[in-house]
Amino acid sequence: MHNTLKAMIAALAVCTTAAFAAEPIKIGVSGPFTGGSAPMGVSMRDGVRLAAEEINKAGGVLGRQIKLIERDDEAKNERGVQVSQELINREQVVATLGFINTGVSLAGQRFYEQAKIPVINNVATGSIVTQQFLPPQFPDNYIFRSSANDSIQAEMIAEEAVDKRGFKKVAILADSTNYGQLGRDDLVKALARRGLKAVAEEKFNIGDVDMTAQLLRAKEAGAQVILTYGIGPELAHIANGMATLGWKVPMVGSWTLSMSNFIDNAGKNGNGARMPQTFIEVPANTPKRKAFVAAYHKAYHVDRIPSPVSAAQGYDSMYLMAAAIKQAGSTDGVKIREALESLKAPIAGVIKTYSHPYTHANHEAINKADVVMGEVKDGRVVYAYPADEKKAPK
């Protein structure tokens, strides 16, 4: 009797340790799954899910499965703060992927910095997103990024409009969010480097349905091209408003011009709009990209990814984080950060193969060389310059 009891207790103890060892690694996913930013948030989440499923199928990380804790931040700054606190304190995530909207990112990620939990921003592009917590005030920065930041994008937009196409009179139309206004600042700087000043700088709000005044101001100022920083629905109103006014100048803007809710709602008025892209869905020009696109289409029953860039960046961010946890051999935030900053093995992603993407000082995985110019053409984003298509990513 006595022995049986002992054996039972021993068996129970073995069971609990085994259960503990197999406990999943919790990774937070924060993004807007509702509202005008939803195509980006949902595509990012689905990209992360796809990568997590593949990793789990291959045995997980450190012998444990990855469990995603997904939360809708509704693209609202205050909601982003709540989500961050919930993920850190209640769910006790090991790391977080996500943040689509620059404002939400700036508001929410301070909690991760305080808790020493690493974050990879896989879509938010505001230049200061990774610059919030720098030494000497903060010895270590826990904020990383796997998207093309606005300094890169604004430079490419100015390069396209001014250097390549020779426009001298440019107008800037930006929305009134942190994203739009910080992006506008980057555009102004990029133009200043070329000795230019925008002939018109106009603002609009999320939810605006009439852009006549903004467009007329740009038109009267003699603008030859419109540079945009906004999100899909309002960008569509700009393209449609131009058609109504019978005034057609090229649109060059941030990567959001590739959002499905711009392309669909602008229809043929959106044709020719150009934007920096880290990833273009069709034609997928590498085997890895082909496999990713096919897997995405199959898993989510679509024939077009709502926001291909977000999906690809989300997918890659999951692999970067998994590689860091593996290298750290632990789920401790400090160790994962150190591993991210010194990733040894190259990581094959959809956008590129990342070799030493981060250092202690550099938390940006994407460089200007990784970004190409895309163009809206009949409902899809294609390569604006055919040469980019042939150039396989490094």
Partner: protein, 290 residues
């Protein structure tokens, strides 16, 4: 001058979108002294139901169906949200319940139609035309025409038909109308049906211009509310004038002052009206007897 006329044209078109939604607020206020704060959501539901139907039949055929749906939705709001509050003579219960119903409708729409803004096929050609130097889409003209038409229809109904007279009587003095044998409860239900019907109509009318989506009601509903206050809660013409004033204030300020300040004059206008003529520009001041 060319720019000014274009701005005025666009401002009027925008203002009429606000006006037709504002009109819905007035209809329920007239009979029951209550407002449906889910007016923007009624508009949104009308647009999305229309969008689901538009794949199966022509735009003109869906109009009666959307109107029917709107009327039904209005009855639901009145039965669930407003009648219980009126029964217990609660002064403010209906505010919370109509807001709550609006949120429920929005969540419902997000589950059915998703979170994205969807494009609504335009029944009229998409090519803008020029009218005295003002370039407009045929759809914008239809919004102006449609808004005027529905307000005219409601006014004629109220003035000429016996049912309309019952509405006017209830609006003038609910207790007296009740004593005269008018079923005022029914009249109030009917006014909600009519109100949501106009909102649903407005939804399918504006959706080809504004895009349709679960979020479309929020901003439009709020601006229309400002218009209803500016114009007066018991004046059909007030809704039109208020709408046009707000639309013009927005586009003119955006062009001549700054696009960053375009919403300010409309709100300043609202404050001025509330300070000087609280019943609205065209409203009759109500004397509340205690």
């Amino acid at each position: 001058m060319d720019v000014l006329s274009q701005l005025v044209g666009s401002g009027v078109a925008l203002g009429m979108i606000y006006a037709v939604i504002a009109f819905g607020y007035q209809l329920t206020f007239a009979t029951s002294r209550t407002l449906n704060f889910g007016q923007g959501e009624a508009l949104m539901l009308g647009a999305l139901v229309g969008l689901s139907l538009v794949g199966h039949m022509s735009y003109w055929l869906i109009l009666p169906l959307v109107l029917l749906f709107g009327a039904f939705q209005g009855i639901v709001v009145e039965r669930l949200g407003v009648r219980p509050a009126l029964k217990i003579k609660s002064e403010f219960g209906w505010i919370m319940s109509t807001i709550a119903l609006g949120i429920i409708f929005k969540n419902l729409a997000e589950n059915i139609w998703g979170h994205d803004q969807l494009s609504f096929p335009s029944p009229l050609p998409q090519h803008p035309f020029s009218f005295f130097g003002i370039r407009m889409l045929p759809m914008q003209v239809m919004v102006i025409g449609g808004a005027l038409l529905i307000m005219l229809a409601v006014e004629i109904f109220n003035r000429r038909s016996i049912y309309g007279k019952a509405i006017v009587a209830t609006s003038n003095d609910r207790d007296a109308a009740g004593l005269m044998g008018i079923n005022t409860n029914l009249v109030i239900t009917f006014s909600y049906a009519l109100s949501s019907m106009t909102a649903a109509f407005a939804g399918v009318l504006v959706a080809p211009i504004t895009l349709a989506g679960a979020e479309m009601g929020a901003v439009l509903g709020l601006k229309a509310f400002a218009v209803a206050i500016i114009g007066g809660l018991n004046s059909g013409i007030g809704a039109i004038v208020g709408g046009i004033m707000l639309g013009l204030a927005e586009t003119l300020t955006a062009y001549y002052v700054s696009t960053g300040y375009k919403d300010v004059p409309g709100l300043v206008l609202l404050l001025i009206v509330l300070a000087i003529k609280p019943a609205g520009l065209f409203g009759k001041a109500a004397i509340k007897k205690v």
